[in-house]
């Protein structure tokens, strides 16, 4: 019994310690992000992003659009990509063995004809069965290949890409017309340093969409989707911005990122053996470039927007989050050797250990912490008043953090124009800490369980690629 008591007290202490540390980190990040975003917004006024549109020196970009069973939206997506404001680009759709009419829709809409396209042999991929060019748009290509999963499709796209930079997209992501130009800006400004950039992913549920473009920004009706709106703002504007400023951005959303082709190809392209190919690539790029002692930047830019649909029901959301967690853990685990190795700078000393602590150890502590603390107070080790006071405190800290993320959005970008919706966002930001965050924690732990089961050879290993977008809109948004 004494051991049990001891463990309980110890665990409560660990939980409290973790709580304090976690929130201290979040507060620091909020401060860093405020500086970063404000600085960015000011600089934007003087940086002349608009002019890059007319500049012959803006490097051309290959847009890679992997598509698996996307017959419903693929034509609109391609149309809106071809209409992006960017001086020179090609769009490469990689049809990843779709079993529906994806290819036929494209063929009809763009008058595709078979072409013997020369591709690099660089990255191994599933068999490419054919390539098509369009009679209507000289900048459109379609690569038709056997199913191999999203990473494999992207690798085929990298092999086929003609230009020095590629932009990886989810088939259902909708870029704003200026998004590519904005996400490319750091590369235009420092082409020798910047190897990859990512933009913000925002939630399209509730927006009015015409021709594959968000024409009117609005909030979703579903509370679950609205909670995700707040969560995404927090994750991108605070989390990504903070890490980017610290020089150790580990995640660029698979939904929207721009990369230097040669570096990605040299580092081996996307990994086909993880569900977190987007995180894994960025972590590997850091490692690859640090190992070679190169000076480089990987940056997050807060205003080029890709809109995506998110799940509105709890089951799909849970599946999505467990998969994200699994992907993240797989990526970090694969590169665990960089942890605390001074050779890897901020990336190895701070970023990777923090992710291990905050994303892997953290949720476990938190989840075990709740019952432990409750048990502790039930057994009289902790006073109930203290517990309640602490719970109130925890919720309030969360509220301040959530609302300040909203403030960041509101002060700098103001995408949600209607007052009523802004008010709803505030309510959701406050409510987020009562239940939703705990749910996220639980899914993270379940994701960990998935990883453990897979490692021991249990669990389902669904054939990869069979629906790398199982529910529309499972773009990585964290």
């Amino acid at each position: 019994m004494r051991i049990f008591e001891g463990a309980l007290v110890l665990f409560s202490l660990i939980s409290f310690g973790y709580f304090v540390a976690l929130n201290a980190v979040y507060l620091t990040f909020t401060a860093i992000a405020w500086r970063g975003v404000t600085y960015y917004r000011r600089a934007r006024e003087f940086s002349g992003a608009e002019e890059a549109f007319a500049s012959p020196l803006t490097p051309p970009v290959s847009i890679l659009l992997p598509a698996f069973n996307e017959e419903a939206g693929i034509v609109e997506s391609v149309r809106s990509l071809l209409a992006l404001r960017y001086p020179e680009l090609e769009v490469i759709v990689v049809n990843d063995g779709s079993t529906d009419a994806t290819l036929r829709r494209l063929t009809e809409a763009f008058d595709l004809v078979p072409v013997r396209k020369a591709s690099r042999a660089g990255l191994p991929t599933a068999l490419v069965q054919g390539s098509y060019a369009s009679r209507k748009h000289h900048d459109l290509w379609v690569i038709d290949k056997e199913n191999g999963g999203k990473a494999d499709a992207l690798n085929a796209g990298i092999n086929a890409a003609r230009y020095p930079y590629f932009c990886a997209l989810d088939a259902d992501a909708m870029l704003e017309p200026d998004a590519l130009l904005r996400v490319a800006k750091p590369i235009l400004d420092d082409p020798d340093l910047v190897v990859a950039t990512g933009g913000i992913v925002r939630i399209a549920n509730g927006c009015r969409i015409e021709h594959g473009q968000v024409v009117d920004v609005g909030l979703p009706r579903s509370p679950l989707a609205t909670l995700q709106v707040v969560e995404y703002l927090r994750a991108f504007l605070v989390g990504r911005m903070g890490w980017s400023r610290a020089g150790a951005l580990l995640i660029i959303s698979g939904a929207f990122g721009l990369f230097q082709r040669s570096v990605v190809a040299a580092a081996g392209g996307y990994s086909t053996t993880t569900v977190g190919e987007d995180v894994e690539l960025v972590v590997r790029l850091h490692r690859y470039l640090r190992e070679r002692g190169e000076d480089y930047r990987i940056q997050f830019i807060p205003d080029p927007v890709a809109w995506t649909e998110v799940p509105e029901d709890i089951r799909s959301l849970s599946r999505q989050r467990r998969r994200w967690q699994r992907g993240l853990v797989e990526a970090l685990w694969r590169h665990k050797r960089v942890t605390l190795n001074p050779r890897f700078g901020v990336f190895g000393l701070v970023a990777v250990p923090s992710f291990f602590l905050l994303e892997i150890a953290g949720p476990t502590i938190e989840l075990v912490g709740y019952p432990a603390v409750i048990a502790g107070s039930a057994l009289g080790y902790l006073s109930l008043t203290f517990l309640l006071a602490f719970a109130v405190l925890a919720v309030l800290v969360g509220a301040v953090l959530s609302v300040s993320a909203l403030a960041l959005e509101e002060f700098n970008f103001r995408r949600y124009q209607r007052g009523r919706e802004a008010a709803r966002l505030v309510v959701m930001a406050l409510a987020e800490n009562l239940g939703y965050r705990q749910l996220l924690t639980a899914w993270r732990v379940l994701g960990l369980v998935d990883v453990a089961r897979r490692r021991r050879g249990w669990g389902e290993m669904r054939r990869r690629g069979l629906g790398y977008a199982p529910a529309r809109g499972e773009s990585r948004g964290r």
Binding site: R42, A43, E45, F46, S47, G48, E51, A52, S55, P56, L57, T58, V113, P114, V115, R116, K117, A118, S119, R120, A133, S134, R135, H138, R162, K185, L188, D189, D190, P191, D192, L193, S383, T385, F386, A389, F390, V392, L393, L396, V397, A399, V400, V403, S404, L406, A407, E410, F411, R414, G419, A422, A423, V426, L430
Partner: protein, 337 residues
């Protein structure tokens, strides 16, 4: 302990309450300001247009707000128009004392003040601001320097050419900004750029070559042709690209020789240039490169061959072992007509 927690909680509650209030208040204020700005600008636009067109107009007595709004509209026009219209705008700002005021702001201790002054001067179309802006180009704050660079570009300040090229190469300025500034100075910058070819560092020369390709004309080609034999591959590659952009017919002999260059990147640019010049004599060499070279030079050669001589392309692509690049180029020939 609990007292402490309660105290902290109270502070936090107050903090979130204040944050929410600030958000709401700001939103209302901003919406109001935005409406006022738009309607004022719309109201002043006919006046601004008359000023741009140099019509003699009686300026009504303005408050400071209207005066700023008019200046904003005019500054936007200054970035879009040239010729006498631009001179009219410059005259307006000069007469009304705006230039002197902004130049004084360049000495401010706050970086964002200096940056917005440097930015504003670019929209005021008056060259009297040039010396102050040249000085601001060396500002320790990157934003200030970038704003000054853009403004110097808008003003077409020839004295800014060399400092801009050096700042670009040193990475003191965002590359896109300084490059764009140089481009907006325009063809008048070419003699200055030519001056940089002789004994400047390699990166400076390479970039100057690039700009000559964009701003110059065919008569600039002899000097670039010589650079096709430079010791630096970067300079050779940029020279080839520039010659293609200038469509320099008389460079074709040397460009064909550049197809033999050791460095793939130079061969890519040489092939591209020969395509742009449509040099029919290059067809056999391009065909050879398209068949046997590495990916990028082969691809460039095949595309160039399609422009130079579709007939030769079709013929060589039909030969056995002609490779993927010629095949692709032939297929595209049929698609893209």
């Amino acid at each position: 302990m609990i007292g402490g927690l309660a105290w902290v909680s109270g502070v936090l509650a107050l903090l979130s309450f204040l944050l929410v209030c600030a958000l709401a208040g700001r939103r209302v204020a901003l919406a109001h300001a935005e409406r006022r700005r738009l309607s004022t600008e719309e109201r002043l636009r006919p006046l601004a247009l008359a000023l741009v067109e140099g019509e003699s107009v009686e300026l009504p007595r303005f408050g400071a707000y209207e005066s700023r709004a008019l200046a904003r509209v005019l500054a936007r026009y200054a970035r879009q128009v040239s010729g006498t219209a631009l001179a009219h705008i410059g005259g307006f700002f000069e007469d009304r004392g705006h230039i002197a005021r902004e130049v004084a702001q360049l000495e401010s201790r706050r970086a964002w003040r200096r940056a917005s002054a440097a930015h504003a001067l670019g929209g005021m179309a008056s060259t009297s601001a040039t010396p102050a802006l040249l000085q601001a180009l060396g500002d320790s704050d990157r934003d200030v320097a970038a704003a000054a660079a853009r403004s110097l570009g808008h003003l077409g300040a020839l004295d800014a050419v060399e400092p801009l090229v050096y700042a670009l190469v040193d990475g003191r300025l965002p590359r896109a900004v300084s490059a764009q500034a140089l481009l907006s100075i325009g063809p008048d910058a070419v003699p200055r750029l030519r001056g940089l070819l002789a004994d400047a560092p390699v990166e400076v020369a390479a970039f100057a070559v690039d700009l000559i390709g964009l701003l110059g004309e065919a008569s600039d080609s002899p000097q670039l042709v010589e650079l096709l034999r430079d010791t630096s591959a970067e300079v050779r590659a940029h020279a080839a690209r520039a010659l293609g952009r200038l469509a320099a017919q008389d460079a074709s002999d040397e460009l064909r020789r550049a197809l033999e260059d050791r460095i793939p990147f130079v061969r890519v640019n040489a092939a591209h240039a020969l395509g742009a010049i449509r040099d029919a004599f290059a067809a056999p060499a391009l065909a050879r490169q398209a068949r046997g070279d590495e990916f990028d030079p082969a691809e460039a050669a095949a595309r160039a061959l399609a422009r130079v001589s579709p007939g030769v392309l079709v013929a060589v692509a039909a030969e056995p072992g002609s490779g993927p690049h010629l095949a692709q180029a032939v297929d595209l020939l049929h698609v893209q007509t």
